[in-house]
Symmetry: none
Subunit: 227 residues, 4 copies
DNA sequence: GATGAATGAGAATTCATTCAT
DNA sequence: CATGAATGAATTCTCATTCAT
């Protein structure tokens, strides 16, 4: 943390320490430290769950004192919100990148691949599902600003968009595609919730089977399924 | 300790205070007070969520001091457990009583009626869904005893049994019926979670439509659906 | 408890239900129930220690409700006091009955036997030692009445009297005998405290050895020890 | 936020506010506050006994809110442990420093001096004896960590070591010296317990006499006591 | 004499947050 | 920007004791 004066002065000389650049640099630093804190929060959250991811724990893992966190986040909830945003970003990347395993790229295969990517993401990171539920518990976003809420919702929709796109490619109207997408989403969520809460064991079922059966029947019902 | 019969009879005539009746009356009172506390707990939980339903809050709403609660429940967890047990009991009654609207009683109509009863119960009491999720092992393992956990799981399974029964009546093997029942369960849960968390609005969808479409497609896929 | 006149009359006829006899009978009952409670208290205390021997626990073991206890004891402390009194009574009996193992009954052998009885009593019932310490913690008897305190002290002195008697028989003046008795008492207490608190293990010593060595050296120092 | 080097240097010169010194100062402050709390704890313990020395009480006496205590101690137990550690440290210093009153320094005189220092320490600070008894495994196992327990035991042993050393100097084998040391320890403890609980008054004895007589007889029995 | 309900005080501990420095 | 100290409110739970019935 201690930096020699010489270095600081040099930096100033080289980069031209105008007000603007200083703001930029500081904002970069700021962003870096936010990231540092978010990393700490994520690790705490993954290891200890939401209850264990207290401000103190996050601060400790970030190498800060609790008070310092408030320089970067207004709230503990804001941290959770940022965490969720990050999570949704990763989800988007995963779905975006999803491709059928073979070289074929029929819309059906793409549909399957996209939906499966979505499903697998949450199946393998159940905590991320918890996070979303926590923040939207009981309908009212917990301490999220309206804008953040909007942003998060947009991210979620974006992650589901590829599914909708393929459904349209398979002949569904936009309206029908949206409906079917939301149904897929619902089914995935349901299967995962049952899995995460151990309910699925009561039926001696496997979540993957449930998911795949749903996709099969969905595809079977499609107008172009003569393929 | 010994009381003459004559005296007992007289006393009994006057106040009805036989040992048996006293025990009965007191047990009733006791039960009434447990119910009172449970009501307080339910209202706290509905208004404030599980986190807000602290012992203090429950006691306050029940008009008790916190310590007094422990005369009726061994634990905060026991209260939650009782709450959930009650909820599942009502669920079972509702599903049990469910009948098709017309006079017809085909298995398909019964299947629809049973599944719909299950769905409607939670759609109209969304908090009860939260309760179940919160309490079981999954997301937030609350310290239910193994026996209580078992009992609650049994109640849940019982509520879903009518669906399975009708599926078997419609020609599915037990194995297939169980699988399909768990899929129905998953779909209902998914639709409801999306509804409760406001996600369904993002798609401008209606939960009922989603549920019904799922049932339609399920029935369509049944072997006996030539009827 | 209302009793029917008929029964009372009968009883009265048989036993002569004068006020005096009724008092006596009731006092006997009373005593029996006090004993019942004390038994419960003792068992709780032995199994759970002083902290575990709460009024509630004692009541439960006695088959009473907490409130009922207050008909027989004014205080939890009074129960402890009574427990200690009982303990000291047993101690007295044990010391009283102590005899040398062989048929010989020299004063030296008797001295050893009496002291050892005292030692062994507490070595084998360490909780009883705790009890005494608890009640006299910090000099001021905890909630014991002065009379009870006096009585307990008298019982303790009585238990040590046989030692003093033998010391006198062995030629010590009363004054010297008292001094030596108190020294024996101190040593026993010290050894037992070290034993109970695990300190003796630090020295890898055995409490019995320590006790015996002390007795040996005491006897060696006696004027008549030419015997 | 940015400070010029010059200003920083000046500040440093004036207040000595280098990073190092700041850390040192803060650590000192911290230590001072730990001490403050420990003082409060000691006073609470001395006046109210261990039961009365609750976190609340300690905090109140230290002028803190209960929560603040947890910045300095992880536990109530840790406070107790620190208290005992401190006490044992003082004991060690006292015994270490103990010297015979005259200029002579024979081993016998040293032995007496060391044992007496130990004895006097606890005679004059009876509560410190209670503290030790309360904390170690024996009577009321308080949750000290194994390491702390070990450390405290080591301190206790260290305080008794000078006695053992002199006994060896007087010709006892190590084994015998340890045995005799533990016997001395036991006797001191016994005498003090009797004194602290008022039992010694029952015998109209004086604790000092008892202690001295024991030391006399111990020395008399030593092999080199022809001196 | 006994019950059972209830109190009220107290226990340790945790936590998000604030704020002077 | 960061610290570290501190607050104050919250958490669950335990207990001796009281008292109307």
């Amino acid at each position: 943390m201690e930096k020699s004066t010489a270095v600081r002065k040099n930096t100033a000389r080289k980069s031209g320490d105008t007000a603007a650049s200083r703001v930029a640099r500081e904002s970069t630093l700021n962003q870096a430290r936010r990231t540092l804190i978010l990393d700490a929060a994520r690790s705490a959250f993954f290891e200890l769950g939401l209850d264990g991811a207290s401000l103190r724990e996050i601060a400790k893992r970030a190498g800060y004192t609790p008070g310092a966190i408030y320089s970067y986040f207004v709230n503990l909830e804001e941290i959770y919100g940022a965490l969720l945003g990050e999570s949704l970003q990763r989800l988007n990347q995963v779905v975006e990148a999803a491709k059928p395993s073979g070289k074929s790229a029929s819309s059906i295969d793409l549909l399957r691949a996209k939906a499966e990517a979505f499903y697998v993401f949450y199946r393998d990171n159940p905590k991320e599902l918890d996070l979303g539920f926590y923040l939207f518990d009981g309908m009212k976003p917990r301490g999220l600003t309206a804008e953040l809420n909007q942003e998060l919702n947009d991210q979620l929709m974006a992650a589901l968009n590829p599914v909708q796109v393929q459904l349209e490619a398979l002949g569904l109207s936009t309206e029908e595609a949206v409906l079917e997408t939301s149904a897929v989403f619902a089914h995935i969520v349901g299967v995962l919730v049952l899995n995460n809460t151990g309910r699925i064991r009561l039926f001696k079922q496997n979540p993957d089977t449930l998911f795949e059966r749903y996709m099969d029947s969905l595809i079977q019902g499609l107008p172009l399924s003569q393929v």
